[in-house]
Amino acid sequence: MSVEQLYQEIILDHYRVKRNAGLREPYEVEVHHVNPSCGDELTLRVAVADGEVTDVSYEAVGCSISQASTSVMSDLVIGGSPEHALELHDGFQTMIQGQGKVSLDEDAYGDAVAFEGVAQFPARVKCAMLGWAAVRDALLRVMAGAKEES
């Protein structure tokens, strides 16, 4: 596994031009996640209306993998149902922790397929999961009916 397979062009593109970046109103829940081993930080907001994730916005400090992964995630999640987002989370997590043995459905995951290489780099799994873990946390809070900041 070479580093060029890790840094797919799709990933670098998302890193250079992040989708849905910047914190926006309105939102239901804001969460703040940290990767203590490297200090990466992510503040993420979700807006949900009528069973649809209408917006995901965020501000992040982090590496190319974590930033690109958050960017790709936001594109995938916006417009779907919260339940669908959680399903996507679970599938992505299974793949990324699968040490290269699990692949994603290209139709469902689009650009996220580019992260399959990350599964070969255990040290980067946390980076790729940061945004996904945050959106899951935020959506679960929305679904629990809580409007809170944390």
Binding site: S2, Y7, L12, Y15, C38, G39, D40, I65, R124, C127
Partner: protein
């Protein structure tokens, strides 16, 4: 140093340096994180286990006597190596962090609300968190030295603000910063501490491996370091303390041979160093540390320091040429150790590490357990290259070249496949 320092000969003692990463030779520039081990240290440990292994102190039989001689011999060697007045001043711990916790926990027995403990913003977490916990427990207040923009200890500001004053009970400071490389003026700060009867603790985790150490010349009361950064094994650290100070302190962890008399209704405790050594000690690790100390002593700490100084100066020069590279800390090799932290514009440290790793170059990225310092410097994280006694100029060249490549890769100046690999 009488003989010229022969780094190629030194490298032959470290089999791991022969490893390759794909087509690249391993370039290990993460020695401030942990050092590599010469073969003889590993052999000394193996010999201990396979020939002399027993528990110490408790056992009077032949193996017990041999293991005790090995363990206590290590204590004496450490004492000599750092210029301690007597070997009973040397307490073995599991690492520098435990040593600093031991210092903080036992000195906390003297702290009360209104008292102050002084550290610095450039400390490793292991010299911050134990004091935070001690202050929380006792109601004392934690204060800290700032750094100048160049990354030096800001003594002027401290004097101006009366940082060290009659309320100060402890000053705990790193000798050499693990991020900035800054060498702090310990003797001067110790004099400030002693002028107000405060105890001076030194985190020498990066100092003892790099510089000749003399606790008397440093003027401190306690000093901590860790075995794995000085060619020794993991699992062992050292707290040195003036005997009369150690003698006045309560125990830290309980159990095993740290006692005098145990009754169910209460116990009394052994004199130092045993009072602070609960349970079976890192015996084989002490033997390994002893061999590491023999090894660096034979090379000569002066020669090691000169070699590192030379390499650091060279590295600072070469790295300055990399576009977008900013060095955190002193950019001249004056009062400066061999750790060089830096940022590369537009590239996150994780990505720098990863690209460098793909070329066999091992550096560290993150906040290097010094998050407050990164906050102070206004960066979220950084990269760090660090040299040691086996590092060569050629390795610095490889680093500089790979940093060029990394910068180009992420700025899109290179195609993601191909380029000048």
């Amino acid at each position: 140093m009488t003989e010229p320092y022969d780094v190629e000969a030194v490298r032959r003692d470290f089999p791991i340096l022969e490893r390759t990463v794909g087509p690249y030779p391993l370039t290990y520039l993460d020695s401030a994180n942990t050092s590599q081990k010469p073969r003889r240290v590993v052999e000394a440990i193996a010999d201990h286990y396979l020939v002399h292994n027993a528990n110490v102190a408790r056992a009077m039989h032949m193996l017990g006597a041999e293991a005790t001689a090995g363990f206590e011999g290590a204590r004496t060697a450490v004492a000599t190596f750092i210029g301690a007045a007597r070997s009973e001043e040397v307490v073995f711990t599991k690492n520098a962090s435990e040593a600093l916790n031991l210092a903080a926990h036992t000195l906390a027995s003297r702290l009360k609300p209104g008292d102050e403990v002084v550290v610095s913003v450039m400390e490793h977490h292991s010299n911050i968190v134990p004091w935070q916990l001690a202050c929380e427990r006792t109601g004392a207040t934690l204060r800290w030295f700032d750094v100048t923009d160049e990354g030096r200890l800001d003594i002027d500001a401290a004097v101006r603000d009366g940082l060290v004053n009659e309320r100060t009970k402890v000053v705990s400071l790193t000798w050499v910063s693990n991020v900035l490389g800054t060498v702090n003026p310990i003797a001067q700060v110790a004099a400030m501490a002693h002028a107000v009867d405060a105890v001076m603790v030194v985190d020498a985790s990066q100092g003892v491996p790099q510089l000749p150490t003399d606790v008397a010349a440093l003027g401190c009361d306690m000093l901590a370091f860790t075995g794995h950064k000085i060619c020794g094994p993991t699992g062992i650290g050292v707290l040195w303390g003036r005997y009369d100070l150690l003698e006045s302190l309560p125990p830290f962890l309980g159990g095993g041979e740290m006692i005098e008399v145990v009754r169910m209704t209460g116990s009394t405790f052994a004199p130092p160093p045993y009072r602070f050594e609960a349970g079976t000690q890192p015996i084989a690790q002490a033997v390994g540390l002893h061999e590491a100390i023999r090894y660096v002593s034979e090379l000569g700490m002066d020669g090691i320091a000169a070699h590192e100084h030379d390499l650091t100066a060279y590295a600072l020069g070469e790295m300055a040429k990399v576009p977008g590279l900013r060095i955190l800390g002193p950019t001249e090799a004056v009062d400066r150790g061999g750790a060089i932290a830096f940022t590369l514009e537009g590239v996150h440290p994780h990505d720098v590490m990863q690209l460098l790793d793909s070329r066999g170059i091992a550096i560290r990225g993150g906040h290097h357990c010094a998050r407050p310092l990164h906050d102070r410097l206004g960066v979220q994280s950084s990269c760090r290259a660090s040299v040691y006694l086996y590092t060569t100029h050629e390795e610095i060249d490889r680093l500089a070249e790979a940093l060029d490549y990394t910068s180009a890769f992420f700025s899109g100046r290179l195609a993601t496949t191909g380029g000048r690999r």
